[in-house]
């Protein structure tokens, strides 16, 4: 089994971290953004299609981000300008993303279900010179694509923006007390709009990572509900970027374990495939319990689900 499980855990957690960072920003701005999967699938498709047509990874990555941000803008218009219920708008965006990419897969790339080609470049694996030789550390830190490093570095970046900048302070105020924010002259809608676009940006990375770095192909609905798992991580950590990332890594580790355990233990694979989800549900139960307690203690804290 060796340490390949660590490498695997880091790999599995990466798209979750990207998506979760996108979700953290909207969460802190008081929006329950369930459309992460919708943004991701559109980004994944755009990444593959652009890489196929241009042969350039840079253009593909930019394309993926632009597509994802555009969809996020649409979501923001629905929710913030037109005041649509964010849950309904999010559901619509997920359906739109999944169906639109399935349609374009057939229309643009002429394929049904899955598209891949030898012409598509993919992100090369980076072997960090010295670290690569060290047993545990090597498996953790080396042998990944550039996007993996970007994902993990984005966590402190998001944390810094949220807690150390004026913009972050405003965003958190908008999230916790929009009326108070408006009263001190903060443009609430503008901040929310920005948060949604940033959410799109991170999901653009997540989608591109899924289709161009994790694998080199596009398949219908290939996000496989990773956005929802990311949301669960955010809830567990109550929007704290570091703790959210930690939960994502935990989930990655649990998944990597559940992939390898059946052969080692001889237990039924179904049982072990439950591990990541049990971990997630337990996490939600704990956070639910903690939140209730906290709410009782500080009556003012509330989170607008509407």
């Amino acid at each position: 089994m060796d340490f390949d499980i660590l490498n695997s855990a880091v790999r599995i957690a990466t798209p979750l971290i990207f998506a979760a960072m996108g979700g953290v920003v909207t969460y802190q701005a008081g929006m329950l953004n369930i459309a992460l999967d919708g943004f991701m699938i559109v980004a994944a498709f755009t990444a593959i299609a652009t890489a196929y047509l241009t042969g350039s990874l840079t253009i593909a990555l930019i394309g993926a981000i632009v597509a994802s941000v555009l969809l996020a803008a649409l979501m923001a218009v629905f929710n913030i300008r037109l005041r649509a219920n964010i849950f309904i708008a999010g559901t619509a965006i997920i359906f739109l993303g999944n169906s639109l990419t399935a349609l374009l897969l057939k229309g643009v790339l002429g394929q049904d279900g899955v598209f891949t080609s030898d012409r598509i470049p993919n992100f090369p694996v980076i072997r960090v010179p010295v670290v690569d030789g060290i047993p545990v550390l090597g498996a953790l830190l080396s042998g990944h694509t550039i996007l993996v490093y970007v994902a993990y570095l984005s966590v402190p970046l998001v944390a810094w923006s949220l807690y150390r900048t004026r913009w972050g302070l405003r965003l958190r105020v908008v999230g916790e007390a929009p009326e108070a924010a408006a009263a001190v002259g903060i443009d609430v809608d503008k901040i929310k709009f920005q948060a949604m676009l940033i959410s799109g940006l991170f999901c653009g990375f997540a989608g591109a990572y899924l289709s161009l770095a994790y694998v080199t192909l596009f398949a219908r609905e290939m996000t496989a509900e990773r956005g929802l798992i990311a949301l669960a991580a955010i809830f567990f950590a109550r929007g704290n970027p570091y703790r959210t990332a930690l939960v994502a890594v935990l989930f990655g580790g649990a998944t990597a374990l559940s992939v390898r355990l059946p052969q080692v233990t001889g237990l039924a694979p179904q049982l072990l495939q439950l591990i990541p989800y049990v971990v997630t549900v337990l996490a939600l139960v704990i956070v639910g319990w903690r939140t209730t307690r906290a709410r009782n203690r500080y009556g003012a804290w509330r989170f607008d689900l509407g």
């Binding site: 060796d2 891949t116 219908r220």
Partner: protein, 353 residues
């Protein structure tokens, strides 16, 4: 029911009015109705056209391909075709079962054929086929065990469900027949649309020494093939020929020969032996399944292994080899198939009494 009948009648009538009068050929006239993926799918529909082309050459038949745009149009497409007097109308996919049943009942004199569906007869004027995918899996299991350099091969299924177990049992049986001491790793990703997950499971199998992985997992299979490419091992595709997806990394694909099945249907009409209400089984001996060989996997499988395949076919025809079908296994059954072989432990207890 009346509404459906009326719809068919209207559809048929409108087409009769518009129908270009069928070309005055002496030979058979065949209509092929594509499943949802349509022509150019590099899968069942394209393969069925190959069967049509062969029939065109052998029987002087002419064929028309009708492409409904969605499942909801299957019935009207079939009805329209039925109104135009084709000798046989052939379709494919499970989605076409209900529409074809309805149209076949409305046109009792029209002959119909449905390729690669379940064991239930569809009507007195419909012939349908079941592909013995377990025999195809047996074949690729045999090839995999003969080709592996590590002595370990893998199986990556989608969901852990009986229909996928059927592939595994065949694969396992073939592998053990080729090499009794081969190790077969059995995994299920739990999803049919998660290529990234498929890659993860495959890499885990590779980590445990499997250098060939059989992917039976829908879109997840693409991830298995992707993993084979990145880990310099082999994958085996399923259902249709997936060799092109990663030339040199796909050892072969277990293909359902829907072309043979469609061709045989036309042949039966041509020589007057067509019998409706029949379900035909297509296994290795009937050329209903095969290991796909093309320019993308040339030279990956040794010639003597390929030569073995003909020997296997002969033995199956003679009844010396019977590949076990998962659905026929009993709970706790210790041996399976002919010649008998130990049932894998995962399967032995899988079926609750």
């Amino acid at each position: 029911m009346f509404k459906v009948g009326l719809k068919i009648a209207i559809a048929a009538f409108s087409m009769l009015a518009l129908a270009p009068v069928a070309p005055a050929f002496a030979g058979l006239k065949i209509a092929m109705v594509t499943s949802e993926s349509g022509l150019g799918d590099r899968s069942f529909n394209d393969m069925m056209v190959e069967g049509m082309k062969k029939a065109e050459k052998d029987f002087g038949a002419t064929y028309v391909v009708i492409q409904p745009r969605a499942v909801s149009e299957f019935q009207s497409a079939l009805a329209r075709a039925a109104g135009q007097g084709f000798d046989i109308i052939i379709g494919s996919s499970f989605d076409m079962i209900a529409p074809m049943k309805a149209v076949a009942a409305a046109f009792p004199k029209q002959k119909f054929g449905l390729v690669d569906v379940g064991p239930d007869p569809l009507g007195p004027n419909v012939v349908s086929t079941v592909t013995k995918d377990w025999e195809g899996s047996f074949l690729v299991g045999y090839i995999a065990a003969k080709t592996t350099k590590t002595g370990t091969i893998g199986f990556v299924g989608g969901k852990d469900i009986p229909i996928i177990h059927r592939f595994f049992v065949g694969y396992y049986y073939g592998a053990k027949m080729a090499k009794p001491d081969v190790k077969v790793i059995e995994t299920y990703t739990g999803s049919f649309n998660d290529p990234a997950g498929g890659k993860e499971f495959t890499l885990s199998n590779v980590g445990q020494g499997a250098d060939i992985n059989f992917a039976v997992a829908g879109a997840t299979s693409a991830g298995v093939i992707d993993a084979a490419k990145s880990s310099k091992t082999f994958a085996i595709g399923v259902d249709s020929n997936q060799n092109y997806m990663a030339p040199g990394s796909v050892l072969t694909s277990m293909v359902k020969r829907v072309d043979t099945q469609a061709y045989d249907m036309i042949k039966s009409v041509s020589d007057g032996t067509f019998k409706g209400g029949v379900v035909k089984y297509y296994g290795l001996a009937e050329n209903g399944v095969a290991a796909a060989m093309d320019q993308y996997n040339k030279g990956l499988i040794a010639d003597n292994v390929l030569a073995d395949v003909d020997g296997l076919k002969a033995k199956m025809l003679a009844g010396a080899i019977v590949v076990p079908n998962y659905f026929d296994l009993k709970p706790g059954q210790k041996e399976m198939g002919t010649p008998p072989m130990a049932t894998p432990p995962s399967v032995m207890n899988a079926k609750a009494p």
